[in-house]
Symmetry: C2
Subunit: 452 residues, 2 copies
C-alpha cells in the first residue's frame, strides 16, 4: 500500500502503477526498461508531470537527462537497485504574493524549461503549477503574480504552423483577460521560428510576449532555467515594450539575459546557454536579475489600451530550400509538382542560386508560386542588383528577402500566403516591414567580433 501511494503521489496512475508495482519499482529506484519497439533504457524512475500522457514514465538517464518512455503491456520493466535518490521535499505553497505586482501568464508548450528541481536531491520533475514555479525560482514571487496554463507538451522540433495558431490564440485570450505580459515556455530547437510566427500573428500588441527556454536540463548544476525564467517574467511584467521577444542567457555565465526581437533571433549554438543571437539587429534589452536595461529606443511601447489583432493563419504549403554546389532542379521541381504556394531559397552571398536551378525557379514563378531569396550567410542583406545572376533572378520575379533571416522569411511567407495568393500583393507584403523583420539599412556593427 505504501509503495502504491508513493507512485501515485509522484503522478503515476492506473495501469502504470500496476505495471511498476508488479516489477517492485518505486520512484527513485534504478530500473531497466525494454520497450516493445526494442529500445532499452537504464535510469532512475522519476516523478511524472501531472499532465503528461498516462502511459509515460520518466527516467533520469546516466548522462543526467530525463526522458519520457511510453509503456505498454508488453514493455519489460526490471528493478536494478532500490532508492537511488532520496525523495524530494514537496514544494511549499505558503508564499504570500503582493497584490500590487503585475500579473503574468506562463503558457507551457514543452521543453526542458518548465521543470522543477529539488535542490536537496537534484531530482527533477516538470513544474506545472504556479506553486511549483515559485518554489523552483523564489525570486519570481517578488516580480509578478503568476498564472499558468499548459497548452501542450511537445518536442519543439515537432512544432508546426498549426501549433503556432493555437499559441497565438491562447496568448490573445490571456491578454484579453487583462494580464500585464505573457511568457511562453518552449523547447529551444525551433523557438526562433515560433517567435517569428507570433511576431506576425499578434498585431498591435498591448503588452510583451516572451518566449523562454533552457539549454540545459534544470537538474544539471549548469542549468540556465532559473535565470532565464527570472529574465522572462521580468520582461513580461515590466518591460517598456510590447513586442514578441526571446529571453535567454546573454553570455555563458549566469550574469545576464538578453531580450531578442522575435523576427531577428536565431539559435546559433547546439548547447551553449547563450545560443540565441540577434542577427542584423541589436537585442532590445539586457536583463540583470530583474532589472531591465533598454539597448534601443526603437520599439512599440507597452500600452494596455492598444487593441490586439490576431492574424494566426499560416499557409503550410511553403518550403525552405538551401542551395549547394552540384544541386539539381529535383527539389524545386518537386515543390512545384506538389502544388506548393511558396518557396524560400537560402541562396549564397548577396542572393544567388546556381545556374542549374534557374529554369525551375522561373517555372515556379510562372506557375504562380512566390519565390523569396535569402542568404545562407545568415548575417548581411540580399542585394540582387550587384551581379548578373541577381539581376537575372530579379527579372524572373524572385522577391529579395532583404536583411531577413531565412527562417523568418519562411514564417513570414507562410503568414502572407494565408492572406493572399496574388503575387503582386505577396511581393508588396514581403517587402513591407511588419514586425521589425526588415531594417531599412544594414548596421554593420551587429556582426559579432572575432577573438584572435
Amino acid at each position: 500500500m505504501g509503495e502504491c501511494l508513493s507512485l501515485e503521489s509522484y503522478g503515476y496512475r492506473g495501469e502504470l502503477v500496476a505495471l511498476l508495482k508488479k516489477a517492485n519499482v518505486s520512484v527513485y529506484d534504478r530500473i531497466e526498461v525494454k520497450t516493445s519497439d526494442g529500445f532499452v533504457f537504464q535510469g532512475i524512475l522519476m516523478p511524472k508531470p501531472e499532465l503528461s500522457a498516462p502511459y509515460i514514465i520518466v527516467l533520469k538517464l546516466d548522462n543526467g537527462y530525463n526522458i519520457g518512455v511510453a509503456i505498454d503491456s508488453s514493455t519489460e520493466i526490471h528493478l536494478i537497485e532500490k532508492g537511488k535518490l532520496s525523495q524530494p521535499t514537496p514544494p511549499k505553497a505558503s508564499l504570500k504574493i503582493r497584490e500590487d505586482l503585475p500579473i503574468v501568464s506562463i503558457l507551457g508548450t514543452g521543453g526542458t524549461i518548465a521543470s522543477r528541481v529539488d535542490y536537496k536531491t537534484g531530482a527533477v520533475y516538470p513544474a506545472f503549477t504556479v506553486e511549483d514555479l515559485y518554489s523552483l525560482v523564489p525570486e519570481l514571487s517578488e516580480i509578478s503574480r503568476l498564472r499558468m496554463e499548459l497548452l501542450f507538451n511537445i518536442f519543439s522540433e515537432d512544432m508546426t504552423p498549426a501549433y503556432w495558431k493555437v499559441i497565438a490564440e491562447k496568448v490573445a485570450k490571456h491578454i484579453e483577460e487583462g494580464v500585464d505580459g505573457v511568457v511562453i515556455a518552449h523547447g529551444t530547437d525551433t523557438m526562433g521560428y515560433t517567435a517569428a510566427a507570433l511576431s506576425f500573428a499578434l498585431r498591435n500588441l498591448p503588452v510583451p510576449v516572451v518566449l523562454v527556454g533552457a539549454q540545459r536540463s534544470s537538474d544539471r548544476p549548469s542549468s540556465d532555467a532559473a535565470l532565464n525564467l527570472i529574465g522572462a517574467v521580468s520582461v513580461a511584467a515590466k518591460a517598456p515594450f510590447a513586442e514578441v521577444v526571446v529571453v535567454m542567457h546573454g553570455e555563458t555565465s549566469d550574469s545576464f539575459c538578453l531580450a531578442h526581437r522575435g523576427t531577428k533571433v536565431r539559435k546559433c549554438h547546439t548547447s551553449r546557454r547563450d545560443a540565441f543571437r540577434s542577427i542584423n539587429a541589436k537585442p532590445l534589452a539586457k536583463i540583470i536579475g530583474d532589472t531591465i536595461k533598454m539597448l534601443t529606443n526603437d520599439y512599440l511601447p507597452r500600452d494596455k489600451k492598444r487593441e490586439l489583432k490576431v492574424m494566426s493563419d499560416f499557409d503550410e504549403k511553403v518550403a525552405l530550400v538551401k542551395t549547394f554546389p552540384g544541386m539539381t532542379p529535383d527539389l524545386i521541381d518537386t515543390l512545384i509538382d506538389k502544388g506548393y504556394h511558396g518557396i524560400v531559397i537560402e541562396g549564397t552571398g548577396l542572393g544567388h542560386a546556381p545556374r542549374s536551378i534557374l529554369s525551375s525557379i522561373k517555372r515556379a514563378i510562372d506557375e504562380g508560386i512566390a519565390v523569396v531569396m535569402t542568404s545562407q550567410c545568415i548575417w548581411g542583406r540580399i542585394n540582387m542588383n550587384v551581379y548578373r545572376r541577381g539581376v537575372e533572378l530579379l527579372k524572373m520575379g524572385v522577391i529579395p528577402g532583404e536583411d531577413m533571416l531565412p527562417e523568418t522569411a519562411l514564417v513570414k511567407l507562410m503568414w502572407v500566403l494565408a492572406q493572399t495568393r496574388d503575387l503582386k500583393e505577396v511581393r508588396r507584403l514581403m517587402l513591407t516591414n511588419i514586425a521589425g523583420e526588415l531594417n531599412p539599412r544594414t548596421i554593420h556593427s551587429h556582426y559579432p567580433p572575432v577573438e584572435v
Copy 2:
C-alpha cells in the same frame, strides 16, 4: 583604324570589334546595351579579360560594379557619351624579382579577386598576367615569384563537384612541378565548399593551398583584394603548415587577414570584408602584412618531400536538406525516388528532425542511402544521445555529423560516397577525422562573443 586597334588592345576580338565599331563605340565610352533576351544595361565599356568568352563585353555599371554581358548579332548597342574615363596606363612589367623567393602558383577560377585597378583612373579590368598582378599589388614582388594559370572564369554559385575535381588536379600538377604553395582565386559565394572539397581531395599535402577572394570589387575604394592577396601569397610562400586554407580579412578594417582551415570555414556575412569565419575552431594563423603569426600548433607541417595523393572524385547524387516547422516528407521522398546516394540533414539543435519526416528518413536508410545529421545552429556539436528523438534517429542508422559544418558534411559525404557505397564503411569514414573537420572535443570559446 585607331579605334579598331584600341578595342583589340583592350582584349576585344573578331565579331565583337565589328559590332562595337559599327556603333562607334570605344573602350571607356558610356553605352547602352539591349540584349536579345530583353536586358538593358547602361555603363562604361571596360577592357576585357583576355581569356573571357569571345562574345562577352565588360560594362562598369553606375553602382561601380563591372558585369559581363553576352552579345550576339541581335544585341543593340548605342553610344551615349564618348570617353567617360581616361585610358589607364598600361601595367609596367619591368620589375626585377629576387631569384631566391619562393615560387607560388596562382590559379584563377573567377570572382572579383583577380581584377586590376588603374589607380589614376579607377578603371578596373581583370588581371590575368603575372605582370598585371605585380603592378596591382607591388608588395607581392617582395614575397614570391608568381606563376599564373586561369582554369576557368565562373560565378562561384555555379561551382560544382566537377569543377572541384579540375581544381584539385590542377593544384596537384603545380605542386608536382615543385612550387612552394598554391593560391586559388575564387568567388566568395561558395569558397567555403570548395575549400572543404580540396581539403578532402588533396591528401598528404606537402605545401599550403590557399583560397582567396574579395568581398568588394577591386575598383571600389574599400576593396579588400590587395590585403587578401598579400596574405594569401604570404601563406602559400612561407606558412609552416601544409593544409588547405581560406585567407580573407580578419576584421573589417585593412589591418590583418586570417587563415581558416578549409573544413571549418564559412561565409557568414553577405558583404563584410571579414565575412569568413572559423566555426568550432580557431583560425590557423593571423597574417599582418606578410608576417604570419600562428594561432595553433595543431597542423600538418610543410614538407616538400611529402608525396601528395589526389582523391578528386565526388559523388554528385548527394543533397543537403534543411528542416523547418511544417516540413512534409516531400523533399526527402523525392531524393529517395530519384536515386540519390546520400542526404545531409541540417536539423535543429543537437541533431533533431520533425516527426513528420521520420518515416522517410527510415525509408531512405533502408534503401541504402547514407543519411548524415548536422545542425542549423552552425556552432556546436551534434549529440543524439540526449533526447529521445536523437536516440530514435540513431537507431534508424542516421550518422551523427559531430561538430562538422553542414556544408562540410555535404562535401565529405560526396567524397566518401565516391569511394564506397557500403553504409558501414560510409559511417566509419564519416566518423573518422580526415582533414580537421572533426574535433574530438568542443571548445566553447570558439563561439563569438556578443557585444552589448
